[in-house]
Symmetry: C2
Subunit: 299 residues, 2 copies
C-alpha cells in the first residue's frame, strides 16, 4: 500500500468526524495536541469535553513506528523487529445515560518483514440496552459490510462478540458491532479492498451513530439512570484496562498515555456486588449483555 | 509450615482488623460473604460501605488452591502444576480526601513441588502527600521490620517503590511502604520467622494506620479536594487493573471477581491531560510521587 495515501485518508477522516461532531454538539470544547513519540512517529489527538451531548471523548489520529520489544512480539506473534502503525480511534461518552457510548477504530499495521494489514471496527455500549437501537446499529454495519463481502458482517460481528467480552464479569461490553484484524494480511489478499473497507467503516461512523443519539438525547433522566451509567462506565474502564489489546499495546509500546487513556469515562463508580432490582430496566440490560445475540431483528 | 496454623492466624487477623475498624467507624455498613471457588478453596469476604470515615473498603480472607494454568506458570516462573494460596487483603477508601487510602496484604503460597513462602506488605496512598504523615507511616513500618532484621525495612521499602509504580504515568501510587515476596522461599530459610513477620505486619496495621486517620478525619473539605481525590482514585484504578499482580493473578486464576475488585474506589474521575495549578497542594503532591524518597525524616 502507498503509505502516503493511508496517512492522507486517515487524517481527512479524523477531520470529517470532528467536524460532524462539532456541528452536532457545538457546546463541546475541543483541544488538539500534536505530539511526537520518543521511539518514532507521533499523532494528532483531539480531546473533547463538557458538551451538551457528550461529556467527554476523543478522536485521535496517530502514526507511530519503532522497534518491536519482546512483549509486542509475543502479542503480535511475530519475529519481525520493527513496526509501523497508523490509525484513527475514537470513543465518546454521552451525558445522557440513555445515549450509548460508541467506539470506532481503523488502523493499518506494517512489519519490517513486509507483512501489512488493516484492522478496526465499530461497537456500541449502551448503558441501557434497547433492541430497536441495537438493531438500527447492526443493520447499518451490515449494509456497510455487504458492499464488500456478504459474509463479512456475520464474521466480524462474531469477532466483536469475542473481543468485547469481560470474562471476569461473564458479560459483553455492550451490544457489540463489528471487529476485524489482519484484513489483507494473507498472501494474495486484496489490500486495496481492505483499505476501501476501513474507509467505509470510518465514513459510516457519523451516519450510523448520530441518528441513535438524535433518538434519545432528550430523554428524561432520573438519578437512578445516572447511577447506573456510572456503574456501566466502571465496566468500560475494566474492559479497557484489563483486556483491550489496543490500550495494552499503547501502554507497553510507550505510547502517549493521555491519548491512549482518552477512552476513559469522565466518572465511574464501583459498588460491591451490585445487583439490579428484579424486572428493572437495569436487570433487563444485564441479561442482554451476552455473546451470540441476533441484533438484526425483523423490523 | 503447619497449614492449619496459617489458616487460624489469618482468619483471626481478619477478625481483629474488622473489629478495630468497626469500633473506629461504627457507621460503616459491613457485609460478609462466604464463597467457594469452583477450581478449589474459597474465602470470607467482608465489604464495607457508607461509613463516616471510609466510603468503601474490604477486608478479605481467602484460601484457594488449584491447577496452575500456563498464564500463572509464566507469572510465577515455575514448572509446578498446582498451588495453594492463603491470605488476608484489605483496601480502605476514606471519605475525607485528606485521609489516605491504605492497602495491606499478607499471604502464604505453596506449590506442589514443595516450595512455599510468605509475602505481603502495607502501603499508603494519600490523595495529598504530607511529609509528616508519610514519616509517621514509614517509621511505624521500620519499627516492625527492625524487630526481625535491621536490613528489611530499607530492602522492602525499595521493593514497594518498585512495585507500586505506574510506568505509564511515571509516578508512584502513593508514598509506598513495605512490600516483600518469596520470604522464606530459599533453601534453609527461616519460614517460622517469615510467618511471624507477616503476623507482625498484620497486627501492626491498626496501630500504624488509625492514628493517621485520627489526625485528619475532621479536616475541612472543599470541592477542589474532592475533585482531586477522584482524579487520584482514577490512578488507583489504573494501577490495580493494569499493573497489580494480585489483581491480575486473581482475574486469570478465576478468582471471585467481586472480592478481587473490592479494592476499587467508590468513584473515580478521568480528565484529559489534567495538570494541577503551579504551586498548588495538588502540584506538590504530584511532585512527591517519586521512587527513592526518604520518608523517615528527622522528626
Amino acid at each position: 500500500m502507498n503509505r502516503q495515501d493511508i496517512l492522507v485518508q486517515f487524517q481527512a477522516l479524523q477531520d470529517r468526524i470532528c467536524e460532524g461532531l462539532q456541528a452536532f454538539d457545538p457546546q463541546m470544547v475541543w483541544q488538539e495536541d500534536q505530539w511526537n513519540r520518543p521511539g518514532g512517529g507521533g499523532g494528532r489527538s483531539r480531546a473533547g469535553k463538557e458538551g451538551a451531548i457528550w461529556q467527554k471523548g476523543g478522536v485521535n489520529f496517530s502514526d507511530v513506528h519503532g522497534v518491536l520489544n519482546e512483549a509486542l512480539r509475543v502479542q503480535l506473534k511475530t519475529k519481525a523487529s520493527s513496526f509501523q502503525a497508523t490509525g484513527v480511534s475514537l470513543v465518546l461518552h454521552p451525558l445522557n445515560p440513555h445515549v450509548p457510548i460508541v467506539h470506532m477504530n481503523v488502523r493499518h499495521f506494517r512489519l519490517d518483514n513486509g507483512q501489512e494489514w488493516f484492522g478496526g471496527g465499530m461497537d456500541l455500549t449502551p448503558h441501557y440496552v434497547e433492541r430497536e437501537e441495537a438493531s438500527l446499529f447492526h443493520r447499518s454495519l451490515k449494509t456497510i459490510c455487504d458492499q464488500f463481502d456478504s459474509s463479512w458482517y456475520a464474521a466480524f460481528k462474531n469477532l466483536a462478540d469475542d473481543y468485547f467480552y469481560l470474562p471476569h464479569r461473564e458479560e459483553t461490553r455492550g451490544v457489540g458491532g463489528v471487529f476485524f484484524d489482519e484484513l489483507g494480511a494473507s498472501p494474495g489478499a486484496n489490500l486495496d479492498q481492505a483499505f476501501a473497507f476501513v474507509q467505509a467503516i470510518g465514513n459510516g461512523f457519523l451516519p450510523t451513530y448520530l441518528p441513535l443519539v438524535e433518538r434519545k438525547k432528550d430523554w428524561a433522566v432520573q438519578q437512578r439512570h445516572l447511577d447506573w451509567q456510572n456503574m456501566r462506565r466502571g465496566r468500560y474502564v475494566e474492559f479497557n484496562l484489563v483486556h483491550d489489546r489496543g490500550t495494552r499495546f499503547g501502554l507497553v509500546s510507550n505510547g502517549r498515555t493521555e491519548s491512549i487513556l482518552m477512552s476513559m469515562p469522565p466518572h465511574a463508580d464501583w459498588a460491591y456486588n451490585h445487583c439490579p432490582l428484579d424486572a428493572s430496566d437495569e436487570a433487563d440490560t444485564q441479561a442482554q449483555l451476552k455473546k451470540g445475540m441476533d441484533w438484526l431483528g425483523e423490523s
